[in-house]
Symmetry: C2
Subunit: 499 residues, 2 copies
Amino acid sequence: MQALTIKKHLEVAKPSLDNNLSDMDRVNMSIRNSLGTQQISWPLDLLKILSNTFRSSAGSVTVTARKKDDHLHILAIEPEDTASSHFGLAVDIGTTVVAVELIDLNTDKSLAAMGDFNRQIQYGEDLLTRLHFSAQGGLGKLHAAVLDTINSLVGKVCAASGILPHQISAFCAAGNTSMTHFLLGLDPSTIRREPYAPVLTHVPELFAKDIGIDILPNAVCFIFPSVGSFLGGDLIAGALAAGIDKQDEISLLLDIGTNGEMILGNRDWLLAGAGAAGPALEGGVAECAKRAEPGAIERVKIDPSTLEPSYSVIGDAQPSGLCGSGLIDAIAELYLSGLLDLTGRFVLENKTPRWRKVNGRDAYALVDSNKKGEGPTVYITEKDIQNVLRTKAAMVAALTILLDSVGLDINSISRVYTAGSFGIHLSVNSSITIGLYPRLPAERFVSLGNGSLRGAKEVLLDSSRIADTSRIAGKVTYLELNIHPSFMGIFRSAKYISS
Amino acid sequence: MQALTIKKHLEVAKPSLDNNLSDMDRVNMSIRNSLGTQQISWPLDLLKILSNTFRSSAGSVTVTARKKDDHLHILAIEPEDTASSHFGLAVDIGTTVVAVELIDLNTDKSLAAMGDFNRQIQYGEDLLTRLHFSAQGGLGKLHAAVLDTINSLVGKVCAASGILPHQISAFCAAGNTSMTHFLLGLDPSTIRREPYAPVLTHVPELFAKDIGIDILPNAVCFIFPSVGSFLGGDLIAGALAAGIDKQDEISLLLDIGTNGEMILGNRDWLLAGAGAAGPALEGGVAECAKRAEPGAIERVKIDPSTLEPSYSVIGDAQPSGLCGSGLIDAIAELYLSGLLDLTGRFVLENKTPRWRKVNGRDAYALVDSNKKGEGPTVYITEKDIQNVLRTKAAMVAALTILLDSVGLDINSISRVYTAGSFGIHLSVNSSITIGLYPRLPAERFVSLGNGSLRGAKEVLLDSSRIADTSRIAGKVTYLELNIHPSFMGIFRSAKYISS
């Protein structure tokens, strides 16, 4: 298994009258002896420091390189043996949240993982708003904002791990098609306009300096391919992590994020679709929503007799919001306690001291403020519930159409891989209760965690998986669900709990 | 025959719901249909303009690319059909003079050729001074100066031809090893220090923006390989132009410039050496020296009976100096007229109204000033003659050792290719008279003109010759003449005219 980059210590012969090959040729000879690679290429910036580097350390140097077949492209040369400092960064570029994970490419160990809101949010919470802003001349700002988000996270994971950004020689990112365009500064204006042809689906391998990522300037950057405007590299990364294209059984990959996307299939066929789920499930959208970080309520129970809630909070912190799993739990529990009807409306006749009015609207308070006169600090409104139900209905409609198109029913699905920032925390039972997940035995569900980040990690650690990403992207048939004649009908009839 | 770059007009299918491949994939499909190339790569800067470019012209675009085997790297994409504007620049980077030639890559025609002093001269007339200046922290300035020289010439040939610099997509340059290092900003400090290992001999293909050449930013730049510190790409380019490695007969390539370099051999073997000729033969060094441009005396005759000179001048201009060929002619004619002895001293007893004192030193006046009281405007001194004789002696010593080492004598040389800025103009008879050229029948001499520039042009027009440059560079055995035991002895005894 060969990581996306390799790092190797070399002892380069000193020049002599008997061996006055050029410095480059002598280093190349050491590389050939050590790695057996025949074709070796150097970027000009490294040639400028080559001689001083190995003369300063009497020929003891470490090269970092990207190896493809019999070709080696050098990315860095450093004095002395630095081969033990060899790091890669996996990145999930979400519309709402960007997550990164720093990996030691020698030990395969994760050194630090962090996430942060995508700074593009200042130009629009949802993708459509950002695409509109981009078309109005905002592309440069959106490009800079996502770079800023990533570079700030680079600084944080490096500081947390005690390494320097320039020690990161491999970068692997997955995001939806629009995010990929924004990352590269490509105009995404055609993505949402018929006939929905993006600038590109397969991104060439680039160097960090070309994109503007503040790591090793020549670091290799692999960006996951997308299948089209609506099926992004994030889902391909999830499919890679799940390995659904290598199994005989039929699997479903569910990625519930800002959009609800899914891939259904096995080693013979892969069918994908996206329900325009809307932003309900990403932190920052529901009124008391919060990312899954300290202070977020992640589990909720409501006692059916007292109608009083109990909950667990991430970290050692006062509860200050609901993360996605808390929201799904709350809705499921409200429903199971009779406080919510099938349509997602509060049953206010069922009296509980938890009913509140917040800004004139009904709410169920999970956490009350300690101070008099203040409203509740964490609560849930009908609007929050309707948002979730729209997402749920889109997922149901999408899955129904995908299954119909291959003549299968839900029970033919042997395994459901759940991904997205949601997959990590969602309660399978609550998700089945409200109908967000298909009604299948709980043991068929496998949480990939952040599937996009996990796929990115797999490529970082094993560059041969790049070929798998192309293979998966090439095999997927994407069904355009928004224009499918059945979609709206199924969507409308699925906007109920448990339907 | 395929030029270093190719340029091709394409009609790219517009996107539709039936064909909503990405813009890049649709352009790639057109390229594959048109050129049959399978692997296509795009730099990020072009991906950023790709969509707007072909949408602005309803799919009619022209791509410029570098094709290698089955791989095509795109260098430019422009709206409409611009395939007829496809240009390349050949460059000879001389220590003293930089020469460029602008070539139409579609018609193989030369559009403009110009030369100018290398602006590095301000930091030292000869190479050793510049290498010293570089070691003192002057590398950046020397790098900038040679780039300035080339970029200024780019502007001039473009203006003269009515084309724009960004229409130049191919760049091919040859220079000695130090000039190659300076062009790329590489530290040349080890070139003149034992064991004389340069940073590199083979330069990877680069893009103009990487080097800093103001043409198409992604223009492909091929720099001729050198064999070592003392045998540069300029001589390899000359050998390529002469084709000496493809002949059965034994040829000699003589490159007389700031240094005197030569390659002897045939298809089976190539032997090279350099005599440290000194700067005598480059314009700007002899007291009245001038480049071969309007006003330069290029031919000189001295009437043996009157001892009066006659001469021809380049262009419609007053004579204002002597170019190299005029200098060699003058020395040969002075000698043949009995005004110069074997050792290069004036025979002042032979009275002629042309003897002058200039700054207290004896001189032979070729052109007198018209105004009273002023000295002659063009003259020749013994010092000028001694400089030429040192060059001549170094050439003789080098050639003698090369021939000895393979057990051949001068008569085994079937053809002498003369190159360097000198080869264009030198009179073969005068050069044989003073002993600068070997005493062989005049018909064996072939002037390559500027062999370095000519080799560069050949690669521009036929990229398959790149393989020949590596083959020649790999085949040449370089004899280190400066440390050869016989060199100084032969050199001293050859410092006479006609010896």
